[in-house]
């Protein structure tokens, strides 16, 4: 198994610097980090990848069973660390990837030395004594929205376009193609993301952790950020003056500053 090809691994930046792994969340791929990477490349070795089923990963490696749980995605992280023999990396995970990083740190403690959780949520659906912000019906609605937006992309066609390395122009021709992926796989990722409950894993985190939330985030509201911070012993919470769920895109300077500040503190 060629993990580097399977997860479309990109390694850039300063080969002598400490390693930072940037992990995308549900909905897009490693392109999401393109405003973050420039802030890191001078001092850090930067590793980017796509989860299997996203971006330009090897879609043939997708397994509905494996990726029906966040542990399956966490295994992708561990596999990437193993193949590059990374130790003590700083894992920066956006959205669901923040929780995937928590799981990966449990699975391979020697690989992950610190966590940056960007807009994390351990559970999206409201529960007794917990407000995640969504109901189960809301999640079904999202799945419907996704499905409607994949109309015209036949399920058989999308992987061909995304996986065809000889004809990258096919991908370019399609508008909105950055985050295009196989609808069936995206649906699995959406279900796994939004129906998971990782609250019990938070207090097992034993590495330095920075929690970043946003002033206005419809998906991971501030009270969820506070919950995560409270549950992880010794974590730092920083609220970015940003709107939306992707502060690394909507407020890149503030986000980069927060991340590099945290990284500098670790050295």
């Amino acid at each position: 198994m060629d993990v580097q090809r399977r997860n479309n691994v990109t390694v850039t930046g300063n080969p002598h610097g400490p390693t930072v792994v940037l992990a995308h969340g549900f909905g897009c791929d490693q392109n999401m980090w393109r405003l973050t990477v420039p802030a890191l490349v001078k001092d850090y070795r930067v590793v980017l990848f796509d989860y299997v089923g996203s971006g330009r990963s090897d879609l043939s490696a997708f397994s509905e069973t494996r990726y029906a749980s966040l542990a399956g995605y966490a295994q992708d992280v561990v596999d990437v660390c193993d193949v590059l023999d990374l130790r003590g990396v700083v894992f920066v995970g956006h959205s669901v990837s923040a929780m995937i990083g928590v799981l990966a740190a449990q699975m391979a403690p020697e690989r992950i030395g610190a966590l940056v959780m960007v807009a994390p949520s351990p559970r999206y659906i409201d529960d007794e004594g917990y407000r995640g912000g969504f109901s189960a019906e809301d999640i079904e609605e999202l799945l419907d929205s996704m499905e409607l937006n994949y109309l015209g992309w036949s399920a058989a066609m999308a992987p061909v376009i995304m996986g065809n390395a000889e004809r990258p122009e096919l991908g370019e021709e399609l508008a909105n193609s950055f985050c295009a992926t196989d609808p069936a796989m995206a649906r699995v990722f959406a279900r796994t993301t939004f129906l998971s409950d990782s609250r019990q894993d938070l207090n097992k985190v034993s590495v330095p952790t920075l929690v970043l939330d946003c002033t206005q985030d419809a998906i991971a509201p501030r009270e969820v950020g506070a919950y995560v911070h409270q549950a992880i012993p010794g974590s730092t919470l920083l609220t970015l003056d940003a709107t939306g769920h992707c502060p690394h895109m909507s407020a890149p300077e503030a986000t980069n500053e927060a991340i590099t500040g945290f990284l500098a503190g670790l050295r």
Binding site: M146, L148, N149, L151, A175, F178, D217, A218, C246
Partner: protein, 426 residues
Amino acid sequence: MCRTGQQSDPHDADDEKTSDAAFAALLEDSAEELYECAPCGYLSTLMDGTIAKINTTLLDWLGLNREAVVGRMRFTDLLTVGGRLYHETHFAPLLRMQGEIGGVALEIRKADGVRMPVLASSVVKHGATGEPLLIRTTLFDARDRRAYEEELLRARRAAEEAQRQAEADRARLQDALAALQSSLLPDTLPPIPGMESAAHYRTASPDRLGGDFYDVFRLDAARFVFFLGDVCGKGPQAAAVTSLTRYTLRAAALHDPDPASALTTLNRVLHERYSSGDPRYCTAIFGTLEPDPVTGQVTVHLASGGHPPALVLRADGTADFLPTPGGLLVGILPTARFTPATITLGPGDTLLLYTDGLTEARTGESRTDLYGDEALRAFATDQAGRYPQAVMKALTGLLDSFGDGLDDDTALLALGVPASGSREPA
């Protein structure tokens, strides 16, 4: 609400002046009017999504006042929760990356709670130094289109489900066919003292049950029985006859191992079973093997019912057909004659049985260009003196070389007496 200020009808009477005036009024339709009353929703937001400008059409769709919206609501506030999630995870990041995004299906929630499907497109307006200033968004009414799309989706899901079902059915059928096919042939050949044996079976098509069969089994302390044949036709009906044939011959052998007698029993069974309706019959060679532990020779009694003659490959490098003329197809007449023959196999000799899939393999463009008996005999002559396994390997190579020319199933059975002088070890 958007209403035209002009009340005059351009088609009123035949007064050209009136009509010209109306046309001029149309041309003077202000940009403001076009924006407010456009047949689509317009909306401009700050980069954080706060709505800065919205047109009347969209306000009408939403059932909201301008005051309640501008500066107070964000674009995502207009969406359903599912749409909001989609916006945050797909729409907004893509818009940031690409500077524009088009034709995304979303739903807005009207003041009365009713959802309205729209198609949203956005572009980012940049300032003089390239910094993003605001987002311009258009929303098109997609109610009719959505109904149609949902129908398409439903149909696609149904088609995918049907396909899954069909594939599962097909896999089950293949499994059943494979199980049935394997019940028609022995798993392995029994060891025969002083002899070597090899068999090969090749179906022309994996979807079709073959009609060829063979078997070898111990009859008593001194003797073994073998048979090989070909049931006419293909598919499940032929397989049923094959099964009947195999077990009839096995039972008949126990009752009376004389080859002509066993074939006579089979003939009666097949004729009685299938004489009414679709006649079913087969060709077969049936025989017994009696190895002599003292001399190392094996006495073979056999009889043929309409089957192509067996080949005898001799240790001296010759090969010849073993004639069994006049033996009739098994099962077509109430009484039938079968021709017995007896030979002795010495060390280095091999008896080769085959079905006509081998001799009738196409070797040329025309369907009458067949491999043929003489070519087979010449091939067998080259193999004479070799071990049965080696002969079988050469024959399977020959079958491979026919490629598409192999139209029919082929069964092969080689029974030989090894000799120290053979050309290969076992």
